[in-house]
């Protein structure tokens, strides 16, 4: 069965962090990944980590007290952690309140660590046994029992739960997940098909647990009773979230700070300004900021801030295959070939984009290598061969005198707009006639659902499993993008669904690579641009806060203020 620790430790470290931490740390972590952190292995490999969280990477002795101040950029419609409407900001905001069976490490992104579970075993590929820490309590002082977790999992896998949370509940329902609690500290999860990524899916914020009583009363937007490190004292919609440390937290002594505040700052200039003047201790990677914007902060704050780089999702274009001109496979392939990735990287992402389908920083060995990507049609340089091919394809599709006209819409987010501007320029040079419009977010969504678009763009975060990422990237990306061509169906969605339940890592990697190559040479409805680098800025006084995957969010378990 695949080892997620290996995947992340080997692939995810950013250049900056690697340089900072140095060779010793890398060797240490690599060794740890190889010998000790294999959580999703057989029973003999079960983790028996102490109940003190991850290994302390932060320098110095943690100090207690103080208020950590962070930022979020928009409010979410619901604070129900099991509803995917909380995706993005919501998981960060509520992920601090609730705890799950597992969590993503904040030292090695995407590495799965234990959380409420003190260990887990997998007696066979269809069964997972989680042993909970003793004496876990909710914020209100009551005991968290294994049956509460079963209750939460049942909610997620119910038809309503699966609908509300397609990425987690829906996925659990698909694999036939059931759970039971033989005693107060044991949770047994069974699946109908192997799910090697299950521990990672359980680590997502959306798979954390609320007190059942709150769910029963449907009070999840008013009462926030979990077993996470922070108690949500106050929530002022449109202003901020105000937390205090959970004195009953199962990791004794954590979190270190007394309070945590998340303030709503909706615009980039004030966010940068607040960080540069250290009014806040950290700004995250969501929404994505550009290198020049980060430079504004570092120029002003100097060595009082530390910048970390993380993989921040895969930028892609998608087309509506239900109407002309992209219902013609030749036009789709022509559009893919016409996009000049190096130009897009340079002009719209200020170099912070790694061309490809999967980002190697997220997906490790599953991603194509730099050389493999550079040889792919649509990614290769010089562009002449691709452009000659575009001409032939458009002529064959009947566009001899004038190129295909189409509408390109981008939701009004600076990165989307900038990327689409360059893509429109590339396509115009190749003979297309795009009409580019930037629209407000919800109007963009409306048009997308109703099929009132020809081409659009999105930059979603990676999923916890590279095969899941590919599935979401290529098969479920957006409405009206379902290519029905038999070859495509066989080589993309069907192949990925089969790979999803494979337990042999080499076979999974091969399947992932085959799909990435296939979509780069054929008429896919999704044209990947590349993996975007996100930036997390921390004040130097904030120690032990590491960039977390977007699906997990910063929970500040280990963070402390050196002031």
């Amino acid at each position: 069965m695949e080892n997620y620790s290996e995947r992340s430790a080997a692939s995810y470290w950013s250049r900056r962090r690697l340089l900072k931490t140095g060779a010793l740390g890398t060797v240490g972590l690599g060794a740890a990944a190889l010998i000790g952190c294999s959580n999703s292995g057989t029973s003999s490999n079960a983790t028996k980590a102490p109940a003190t969280g991850g290994s302390p990477v932060a320098a110095g002795q943690p100090k207690k007290g103080g208020t950590i101040r962070a930022v979020y950029n928009y409010d979410v419609p619901t604070l129900d952690i099991h509803n995917s409407a909380t995706a993005g900001q919501g998981v960060t905001i509520m992920g601090s309140v609730y705890a799950g069976l597992t969590r993503f490490s904040w030292e090695v992104p995407w590495k799965v660590d234990i959380d409420l579970a003190q260990s887990w075993t997998t007696p066979d590929p269809l069964q997972w046994v989680f042993k909970l820490h003793n004496g876990i309590k909710y914020h209100d002082g009551s005991d968290l029992k294994a049956e509460d977790i079963v209750y939460n999992l049942k909610r997620l896998t119910s038809p309503d739960g699966a609908k509300a949370s397609p990425a987690i509940g829906g996925q659990f329902a698909k694999i036939g997940l059931t759970a039971e609690a033989p005693d107060a500290t044991t949770v047994v999860i069974k699946t109908k098909v192997p799910a090697p990524y299950l521990a990672a899916t359980l680590a997502r914020s959306g798979a954390r647990f609320m007190k059942p009583d709150v769910i029963e009363r449907k009070a999840f937007d008013k009462e926030f009773i979990g077993a996470g490190p922070w108690k949500l004292d106050r929530h002022e919609r449109g202003t901020g979230f105000f937390y205090s440390r959970n004195p009953n937290f199962y990791l004794t002594g954590k979190p270190y700070a007394d309070k945590l505040e998340r303030r709503l700052i909706t615009d980039v200039p004030p966010e940068l300004s607040a960080m540069a003047t250290l009014q806040v201790h950290t700004i995250g990677s969501f929404p994505a900021l550009l290198p020049s914007q980060i430079a504004t902060v570092t120029k002003q704050a100097g060595d009082k801030v530390v910048v970390s780089e993380i993989a921040n999702g895969t930028s892609r274009m998608f087309v509506n295959v239900d109407r002309a001109p992209f219902n013609d496979k030749r036009v789709r392939l022509a559009a893919h070939l016409a996009m000049d990735r190096p130009d897009i990287v340079k002009r719209s992402y200020e170099g912070a984009l790694t061309p490809g389908v999967l980002d190697p920083r997220d997906s490790g060995d599953y991603a194509l290598t730099k050389d493999e990507v550079a040889a792919l049609p649509g990614f290769r340089t010089p562009k002449d061969q691709d452009l000659a091919e575009v001409k032939k394809l458009l002529a064959a599709a009947g566009f001899t005198s004038e190129g295909p006209k189409f509408t390109l819409i981008a939701r009004r987010t600076s990165l989307y707009v900038e990327a689409c501007t360059v893509v429109a320029d590339n396509l115009t040079k190749a003979g297309f006639k795009p009409e580019f419009t930037a629209v407000e977010s919800s109007l963009g969504v409306t048009r997308q659902i109703q099929g009132e678009y020809d081409m659009g763009t999105v930059l979603p975060a990676a999923d916890e499993d590279p095969i899941l990422s590919l599935l979401n990237l290529l098969a479920n990306g957006a409405n009206h993008t379902g290519v029905k061509d038999a070859d495509y169906v066989k080589n993309v969605p069907e192949k990925l669904q089969a790979a999803l339940i494979m337990t042999n890592k080499a076979e999974r990697i091969q399947a992932a690579k085959d799909v990435q190559k296939y979509v780069s040479t054929t008429d896919s409805s999704v044209m990947s641009l590349g993996g975007y680098t996100g930036f997390v800025v921390n004040a130097k006084v904030l120690k032990g806060n590491y960039p977390a995957p977007t699906t997990s969010g910063e929970a500040f378990y280990d963070a402390w203020l050196d002031a």
């Binding site: 419609p77 002022e236 303030r263 009014q279 479920n476």
Partner: protein, 318 residues
């Protein structure tokens, strides 16, 4: 005077009803709905998901039924529940109006005396350096969009003074010093446009009045220039300026939306942005109606004031 007030009051009620119907209709006429906005982060959205949400919020009912419900609630003083904030709109307005009112009041308190003073100085020292400076400032104030000015202020403060206004809201009564730091720049930015407009109008009105016979007579009688300007010229130049101030109150809310967002002030403007972005009909309707009501009240008060200033207006109302 009572007749003038009564007539204005009745026309204000009609205007508010019309405003309610227009806002209601415009919101429903725009493409999209709260359901689409709420589902924006979904990787794949189906019509069924949209319909479920629309049913939940009563958006699947015919427009006439929705309008009837809105009218019924409104007539009983209920502005409905916000989809986005999940609480009564009246509570949201009550919690946030103090911030917006503080911002707008500050801007008006700055803009009115500054604009009138600049206009008077500019008119009485025509073609002097101070006149050119005041006119230049007025043109800049009118031409520069508030969001541009706000961003420039933020970056200049940051770049040259390593300063940024506090972004955590503090109440005027609990922490006046922090409150002052928070509101100073937003108030100045918000006041700049109205100051410029008031200054320009005051100048042109004053130039006109200063040419009138009665002003020349007052000067010939040997009255000190200060008395001539303040008592004879300014008082007669003011009525159009007061009317302009009344209309400025309405436009200030637009500026407040921008400034509140840039300086993270959780006022009605910020709520309005969320309301518009999420197609939160009750919230947008509630805030627009509340602002409309405020505008009507201020206009009414200023009408009375203008009537007091200028007897001709009182007479015309009879």
């Amino acid at each position: 005077m009572a007749r003038l007030v009564l007539r204005r009051f009745l026309s204000s009620i009609v205007a508010l009803v019309l405003l309610a119907v227009v806002v209601f209709s415009l919101l429903r006429a725009s493409p999209g709905s709260f359901a689409y906005a709420a589902l924006a982060s979904e990787p794949r959205i189906t019509e069924e998901m949209v319909k479920n949400l629309e049913r939940q919020y009563g958006l699947d009912q015919p427009i006439v039924v929705q309008l009837g419900r809105f009218a019924r609630e409104l007539s009983s003083g209920d502005l409905g529940n916000s989809f986005y904030f999940r609480s009564p709109v009246s509570e949201i307005i009550a919690a946030r109006m103090r911030i917006t009112i503080e911002l707008m009041t500050g801007a008006l308190l700055l803009a009115i005396p500054a604009g009138i003073l600049l206009g008077v100085i500019s008119a009485t020292r025509r073609n002097s350096l101070i006149d050119y400076a005041a006119r230049g400032m007025a043109i800049t104030g009118i031409c520069t969009p508030q969001f541009v000015l706000g961003i420039i202020v933020l970056f200049v403060l940051l770049r040259f003074f390593n300063y940024s206004p506090p972004f955590s809201y503090a109440s005027l009564f609990e922490d006046p010093w922090t409150n002052l730091q928070q509101f100073l720049w937003p108030v100045i930015i918000l006041a700049l446009g109205p100051t410029a407009a008031i200054s320009r109008l005051t100048r042109s009105q004053m130039l006109e009045v200063l040419r009138e016979d009665y002003v020349r007579t007052a000067t010939a009688k040997g009255l000190p220039p200060r008395v001539v300007i303040l008592r004879h010229a300014l008082r007669n130049a003011l009525p159009p300026v007061v009317a302009l101030i009344a209309s400025t109150v309405g436009t200030l809310i637009g500026g407040a939306v921008v400034v509140e967002r840039l300086f993270s002030l959780p006022g009605m403007g910020m709520a309005l942005i969320s309301g518009v972005a999420y197609y939160d009909y009750p919230l947008v309707q509630g805030i627009v109606l509340f602002v409309g009501l405020g505008f009507v009240v201020v206009s009414l008060a200023l009408d009375i004031f203008v009537g007091w200033l200028d007897p001709r207006i009182r007479d015309a109302a009879r």
